[in-house]
Symmetry: C2
Subunit: 392 residues, 2 copies
């Protein structure tokens, strides 16, 4: 008798392996400069400091045992203190929930907050990992475009005025992936007001906020309303291999997520959570470490933007990032970036076509470039190769 | 406007925080001997060997980067070799999928293999973490009782003869949690035959198989059919804080799980997966390490069984475990173990009432005792306290 995988037809319909991850497999070749990745630079991750923290942590047997589903208590304390400072009100530990990267928070929240068919508002272009989760949850997805100040709230207000009733609005508020932009302070306040007026949740997905170049990111959307659930992680400032993300959410949401987390994977790693506690508690070291990443990424971002602008002049418009890991560029001459990709790979450069992130818009002429894992000279060479490919 | 958590009413209905985990919170008091836990002994976990492996691993930046959703390649190789030896056929790496503990494999498999309303056969008493997952998936759950040879296949065959068509059968095949028993070899073969004849999947959930006392566990159910998806982990032999479990499954199932894993949490930790690779590859050390756990747990199990039998004589019938972490005991005099628990806690001993694991049977007179985290003298004292409580 032949065996079926019944749920595939339903839940996985329309779900496809993330275009970014598939590209990553193609671009591992040594002769390709990949600006496609979206990874932080492993060379900047604090290996020695983590080794020291691991050694210290392993003096206690408790770090090798199962821990609480909501997270290692010491880590929740440290995160509560840090987030209280960011959000500008005292966040009780009960509102801090540690997840396996912030992706897990997104996934569990979708299960808790969404019934099939619920309306979810995303940004266009969107973070692909969020789209994947909301599609798997059976949500109806409507996209609101970005401009240079982040999500266009005038479009969101039009949707609300037309009677749309979102269950939640998802925003990568700061140094957007892939859009490169940051939600302006006045829009943050307004988004929170709309959430309260219309009774929807906001998920503020903020993995990049610490990676500012010249001045700190604006106060989180979560500072304007407790209806904003805030996600972040140490993946971009320490290491993704710690698998430490978190969610700041009202206690009743955290408790519901806790029940699902038990079924999903019981609990996280006390070991990597204690290592993270150690590093986040070492204030002077941490400040210097993050400052060093900011300087390096800032230099790379400037080198990439300079190369794009001087090479392509009026042919491309691109963001000038003030932080994060990405620039978003758009050919103004109808170059189709999906069609260009094979030629670009032949020329030795990889990027992600805008179409991979597009929801309603097609983003056919756009592309995402990641500046984190190449030095300035390599980034400049990558742009030279891209120019060669696009004029072939 | 008041905010709702709509999906709670649906998905979380009937889901409740695991009784075991709630009990754990109650039994942290120093004056209570807890046989309730179900945790491996942290004192037996190889802290120094893990510290050494962490230090070695951290010489390479790659261990701090994101890794593949299917797992760290070197770990998949090591697991493929180990599982090939156990299962008795060559398991290709493509059939090895690393998860965040085997609980995550169970959870992702339920999403992939079950449509709402699908029939799932579980054991009675059942592993609570499996029940939680299958209930959350909206499955219809039917339980088949255990006897001293494991799942009663005659009852399963009666269900099949009556026209029941399970999508999957879940079994903790070896050193059952909570039942303490092991599925007999002839039943393993028969279960695989039934799966092939009737077209259902079997999930062989085997976290305890390495913890045998006098002789190795029988060949896995998975050795009799590729329709048996096999789960295991290092949580009970190395440390749960590594959060390394795995699934051995046909490639099309693994690929479907991979798509869901990307949405669920992107990937596991390259760091803890490389540490695990190191430890599992160190054959002589590993053999000696596991042998030492077997000896310690074997001594504790015998001490507990001896104490129960000599103290309660004909009042209790209990399993004589040949491995694993638990004994399952039943009062033969109608003592209700849920009703007894508060008195037992007052007397300074904790256990889990059978009702916490019961599906169709009530298991009102049964209890699960975990022998892993107390020494022989303490286990004997725990039984004395239990006797005092039950005669009060």
């Amino acid at each position: 008798m032949s065996l079926t995988i019944p749920a595939l037809a339903g839940k996985l319909a329309g779900l496809q392996s993330s275009a970014i991850r598939d590209l990553l497999k193609l671009t591992a070749r040594d002769d390709i400069i990949s600006l496609a990745g979206g990874l932080p630079d492993a060379a900047l991750m604090p290996r020695e400091r983590i080794a020291l923290a691991a050694d210290t942590a392993l003096r206690e047997p408790a770090v090798l045992q199962y821990t609480e589903s909501s997270g290692w208590p010491a880590l929740r304390e440290v995160i509560a203190a840090r987030e209280s400072a960011k959000i500008g009100r005292t966040i009780p530990v009960a509102e801090v929930f540690i997840t396996h990267g912030s992706q897990q928070a997104l996934s569990l929240l979708a299960e808790v907050l969404l019934d099939p068919g619920a309306l979810v508002i995303v940004e266009d272009p969107a973070y692909v990992g969020a789209l994947q989760v909301f599609r798997a949850a059976g949500a109806r997805i409507v996209a609101v475009p970005l401009d240079s100040d982040g999500m266009r709230l005038d479009v969101l207000e039009d949707l609300l005025a037309a009677g749309e009733r979102p269950a939640l609005v998802h925003t990568v508020s700061t140094f957007h992936n892939p859009g490169g932009v940051t939600l302006a302070p006045e829009r943050r306040r307004r988004l929170a007001e709309l959430a309260e007026a219309h009774g929807f949740w906001v998920i503020e997905d903020d993995p990049y906020g610490e990676l500012w170049f010249d001045q700190p990111a604006p106060a989180p959307v979560a500072s304007y309303s407790p209806q904003v659930i805030r996600l972040s992680s140490v993946s971009k400032i320490l290491s993704p291999a710690l698998r430490v993300g978190w969610m700041i959410a009202p206690e009743r949401v955290s408790r519901a997520v806790e029940l699902l987390k038990q079924g999903a994977d019981l609990c996280g790693s006390a070991l990597t959570q204690q290592i993270t506690t150690d590093l986040l508690s070492d204030a002077d070291w941490l400040a210097a470490h993050i400052a060093s990443i900011r300087t390096t990424y800032g230099n790379r971002a400037r080198a990439l933007v300079t190369a794009v602008r001087s090479t392509f002049a009026d042919r491309i418009r691109c963001t000038a990032p003030t932080g994060g890991m990405f620039i978003w560029a758009e050919f103004l001459d109808d170059t189709n970036t999906s069609a260009l990709l094979p030629t670009a790979l032949e020329s030795g450069v990889a990027y992600v076509p805008g179409a991979a992130f597009a929801v309603s818009d097609t983003a056919d002429n756009s592309l995402r470039l990641c500046f984190t894992t190449s030095d300035e000279q390599t980034l400049t060479e990558a742009v030279t190769r891209l120019a060669k490919a696009s004029s072939a």
